[in-house]
Symmetry: C2
């Protein structure tokens, strides 16, 4: 209690002492996540899009209390996800342009389903004793680590698909492929990266590699997009299963960050060996600058890797490019996939 005592024993001053709003806001930031998760679960944004936006109408629509709806809506207005206006004496809520685009199920760009993954207790609970993880240097048990087959990866595949869809289109566009190209999509997950390549290259053939439970999602998406006749499944662990060879391109979307440097370097050599001469590797990553603290989203991803992996990292772009060169790739180049926080790196064998 020493510091508190020191503080409390300070003389009374007539000047206001400093306040610490940012600290308090940060200690309550978890409430923002809870509010968004609840709003998606209740389908609040869709209800606001469909109704005139009074508390009574919204409550009836989502079968929730008026007290709860009012508090949650006001909180979401403060967060900038809703607007509020007074129509005569009754307040009404309406969607902001951002919420109408992403959070109303009536929108083709709806991403709310991502709460299945981003709000999964498996992920959020891992942060409950972050101090212990910082002391230990990684997850406290093997079961808490993401680098093996988990039900969570099915949630990822379904949940993150709407967010990754535009990214996959941009990324696929970076490959230069001739006719009848043979593509390996490693840790395919939702499959969208490989599927985007198949759609943009009507004679390309895709081999999707992932754990079996997850490949079921990729297969369903391949059917949905009409490319299943050029799509096959390779169930297994990317670190141990043989890839085959003579691929024109190998896709490595959002997996390297889960591994340590030696694992990545070994993996990239295996990728290199599986490509035709002139073949391309396409890596998608969170790739911060060399300072490791910018831009905000790729840089802050490092905490997820500390909490959820034993050796992963948010590798700076320059390190990723160097690892490709070390793996004998030539003509390595990078492309920011704005407005997403992701970066594509293309290496040629």
């Amino acid at each position: 209690m020493n510091t508190l005592e020191q503080q409390l024993e300070l003389e009374v001053s007539t000047q206001p002492r400093p306040s610490s709003p940012r600290f308090i806001e940060t200690m309550q930031a978890y409430q923002r996540t809870a509010a968004m998760k609840a709003a998606i679960e209740l389908d609040l944004f869709t209800a606001i899009g469909k109704t005139s936006g009074t508390v009574a109408e919204i409550s009836q629509h989502i079968k929730a209390s008026e007290r709860g709806v009012r508090a949650l809506c006001d909180f979401l207005v403060v967060m900038g996800f809703l607007s509020k206006y007074l129509d005569e004496s009754e307040p009404r809520y309406s969607l902001t342009p951002d919420s109408a685009t992403f959070l109303d199920k009536a929108s083709p760009n709806y991403v709310g389903i991502a709460t299945r993954f981003l709000g999964s207790p498996f992920l959020t609970d891992a942060f409950r004793d972050l101090a212990a993880i910082v002391r230990a240097g990684g997850p406290l048990t093997r079961e808490r680590s993401l680098d093996h087959e988990l039900p969570l990866w099915v949630d990822f595949a379904w949940g993150m698909a709407p967010i990754m869809y535009p990214v996959s289109e941009q990324a696929a566009n970076l490959l230069r492929l001739g006719p009848e190209a043979k593509i390996l999509d490693i840790t395919a997950s939702h499959g969208l990266f490989g599927i985007a390549v198949a759609k943009q290259n009507p004679t390309a053939y895709i081999v999707a590699l992932d754990f079996p439970s997850v490949l079921a999602v990729a297969k369903e998406n391949a059917e949905r997009f009409g490319v299943s006749d050029r799509y096959s499944l390779l169930p297994g662990d990317a670190l141990t299963i043989p890839f085959g060879n003579d691929f024109d391109a190998i896709l490595v979307p959002n997996i390297l960050h889960q591994w340590d440097r030696p694992t990545i370097e070994t993996f990239l050599k295996k990728v290199h060996a599986s490509l035709k001469p002139g073949g391309q590797v396409l890596i998608i990553e969170f790739a911060p600058n060399d300072d490791r603290v910018s831009p905000p989203m790729p840089a802050s991803f490092v905490l997820n890797m500390l909490v959820n992996t034993t050796g992963g990292d948010a590798y700076p772009l320059s390190e990723l490019m160097q690892m490709l060169r070390n793996g004998a790739f030539v003509a390595v180049e990078s492309h920011s996939l704005l407005p997403s926080p992701q970066t594509a790196i293309v290496g040629i064998k």
Copy 2:
């Protein structure tokens, strides 16, 4: 899956589709709370203030892994609570002015102890199923409600004292008291509001009312500030215990928000009856504007009241002032206690 299907079936476009960084940031906002809580628990800021700020030195100082320290520090740089610079080849972290003031135990304004309350699992766990609370209109069980004696209130009394100390000084300064004034401090908690009155009015006598477990904290603080000879304890529940009468002032710091309107109105009548003619009531509250969505901190407090109370609210300032007038107080006035998010309301009998 309808909406996902709609989305996935959209034609491939060469234009980048919209991205949703604010949604993703919000779904990960809980990580900011976890990072701050861990940093305080590890006493990371104090260690950075004492060392040259390299990962090796910080890790040694707080007995944590280098991998963990680097990830947490980088994350805190992104959040704006640390600075990072490259000294020759080695990165070093340093405190921002805000962190040096509030988060380094060597500072007299250290507030880190507030994580005991703000980061208490009792509070944070209550948000785990916010959708159910919104449906129900309040806490799912009586045990989850804050309006009775709880160990949490002792954490509040110790933890929030450094944050409330400057507020209590400003608030006490609003009272106009003659010699030998008799003051009742209702739900005294840490006791700082009554203690500030005692310090500013050297002949004032304070009666502190709260649950017995909490009054132990107020008593200790009264001794620490040298006012214990003018300080007595009234253990009990503010809603049921008789107050006594002929008080010159009654302090009501941060309690009204936990109650519904009828309870507050009954309570204020009891307060009125316990004051001398001309006596003052001093209320401290989160008091948003009539729109209930500004300023951000007082307005967003409403979610805490939904989650943790059966009838509480973030009452707008105009409603609080009206409730005082309804309780027969005259000359009701309000004072913003900037830079804190709190407001003082003074009513005269």
